[in-house]
């Protein structure tokens, strides 16, 4: 069960990761990187371009350049959509930073989600600078059509709702429950606590579809990798 500090879990290609809400709506922020090369991690913006900015069953989470391949696929989403406006599982996330938390009236003594990621990654010998953004499971986001500003009302997710992800690669996942819990409340009313979320991993024995997909063109990424290695 995820604590407020979050957790890093290791999964193998073909594993399932199940996140189940035990007590009610709780946003879970997900960052993932390749076990083989931590420079390859989720590319939220490009995922959003390809898959839309709300994840649904069948949505794939794509990795950064130059690899640009599927890291995870949503295979189950039990959240039942409530009243408009807003949809769930926001891809263009990553704004729960210290400054935003503080500016929204959050207690300065309570670590923001960004702080929790930074601490978590350091504890696992991962570079916090690789965490640029993340997807927000169970987050309900409403987009104003006119201004294109976003708001996050209370999530429609309920206890026992779950999202299941299929790992397409060997991965490390950093999972942090948002101190905004299920959303819809200002930071000044929150104490940093989170609602319990059960995390389970399952070995399916089903190998991922080979990448690149058969018959689809794929560029030679070696020159790009060489450039990155030379410049680092």
């Amino acid at each position: 069960v995820l604590g407020p500090e979050g957790a890093v879990i290791t999964v193998r290609a073909g594993d399932l990761v199940s996140l189940t809400l035990e007590a009610g709506p709780q946003v879970v922020l997900v960052h993932a990187w390749s076990t083989a090369d931590p420079r390859e991690h989720i590319w939220c913006n490009e995922t959003s371009s390809l898959e839309d900015c709300f994840l649904v069953e069948g949505s794939r989470l794509w990795s950064t350049m130059p690899w640009f391949r599927t890291m995870l696929t949503v295979v189950e989403d039990r959240v039942v959509q409530g009243p408009e406006p807003g949809r769930h599982h926001f891809v263009l996330d990553g704004w729960e930073t210290p400054v935003v938390w503080s500016a929204e009236g959050g207690d300065p003594a309570i670590p923001s989600a960004w702080d929790r990621f930074a601490s978590l990654l350091r504890r696992h010998d991962a570079d916090p600078r690789t965490h640029r953004d993340h997807v927000a499971l169970f987050r309900k986001v409403a987009i104003d059509p006119s201004s294109q500003r976003i708001a996050f009302p209370l999530s429609d997710a309920r206890a026992c709702d779950r999202v299941v992800l299929y790992a397409e690669l060997d991965l490390q996942l950093a999972l942090v429950p948002s101190p905004f819990q299920g959303g819809g409340r200002p930071a000044r009313e929150l104490d940093g606590g989170v609602l319990p979320v059960r995390v389970e991993t399952w070995a399916t024995g089903v190998e991922p579809i080979g990448w690149p997909y058969s018959g689809l063109p794929y560029p030679d990424i070696q020159p790009y990798l060489s450039t990155l290695e030379a410049s680092s």
Partner: protein, 256 residues
């Protein structure tokens, strides 16, 4: 809840624009169609990106010149300012010391069509890359990833520092009902420009996207020529120092 936590001092920017007659041009560079570019802009200078032949999508990365680990942070940008980029929009940097890198002071599109949900300029969507062009077009132009790499090298940065960028002159919206990215042809024409005021010394890295003016959808890239155009980059010294940023981070992990 979002977008209003740091009120903007509009009077400062009105006074700044009012001082334009005394500004001094520093440089004007024509970036060739389909290429990348990088330059340094000092605090208090403006940088104008001007359309020359027709609309041209520009992918724009922004870094602190002194601390390249401080750069435009797309999620914070979306949260604080919304998806649009226009006059008064500040470009926000990465945590923990989130602060404005630059502010939009002009956004001139002579024949802007504001009747629908879509507008020119957005802060999300990242950049095209060889994978997408090979998939949709079956050929490899210089993609934005290539061009941003070129621009990074011009200012001494590793391509590993490419980050999620602004998409200027991309006329877009996020569909609230589906989350889909909606894109149509830009409204801009020759002479139209967007201008930023540098709130600190910054590095700009840009790509003139092979997507051109956005009029040919990716599904037609293989069968239809996509016209791309050069863009002028003009830097001007205003003589007006940026206002100090006084909102220090204060949460528990900000100093971690």
């Amino acid at each position: 809840m979002s977008g209003h936590v740091y009120p903007i001092d509009r009077g400062f920017y009105e006074a700044l624009r009012g001082s334009a007659p005394s500004w001094q041009k520093v440089s004007r560079t024509i970036v060739p169609a389909g290429r990348g570019y990088g330059c340094r802009v000092l605090a208090g200078q403006t940088v104008r990106l001007e359309m020359l032949e027709r609309a041209q999508i520009i992918d724009l990365d922004v870094f602190s010149a002194d601390e390249p680990d401080v750069y435009l942070h797309a999620p914070t940008q979306l949260y604080l300012e919304g998806g649009r980029v226009t006059v008064g929009t500040r470009l926000w940097s990465t945590p923990p010391r989130t602060r404005p890198l630059a502010t939009v002071i002009e956004d001139r599109i002579a024949r802007r069509d504001s009747t629908g949900m879509l507008r020119d300029h957005k802060c999300y969507g990242a950049h095209c890359n060889p994978h997408q062009w090979l998939l949709f077009a079956g050929r490899l132009p210089r993609t934005c990833y290539d061009n941003l790499s070129e621009g990074c090298r011009m200012v001494g940065l590793s391509p590993a520092r490419i980050h999620d960028n602004l998409n200027l002159y991309m006329k877009s919206a996020l569909d609230p009902a589906t989350g889909r990215h909606l894109n149509v042809t830009s409204d801009a024409g020759p002479g139209d420009f967007i201008e930023f005021y540098a709130e600190m010394d910054i590095l700009l890295v840009l790509s003139l996207c092979p997507y051109g003016d956005g009029s040919v959808v990716p599904e037609d890239w293989a069968t239809t020529d996509v016209l791309t155009s050069p863009v002028a980059v003009e830097i001007t010294e205003t003589g007006v120092k940026p206002a100090p940023w006084s909102h220090a981070p204060s949460s528990a992990g900000a100093t971690a």
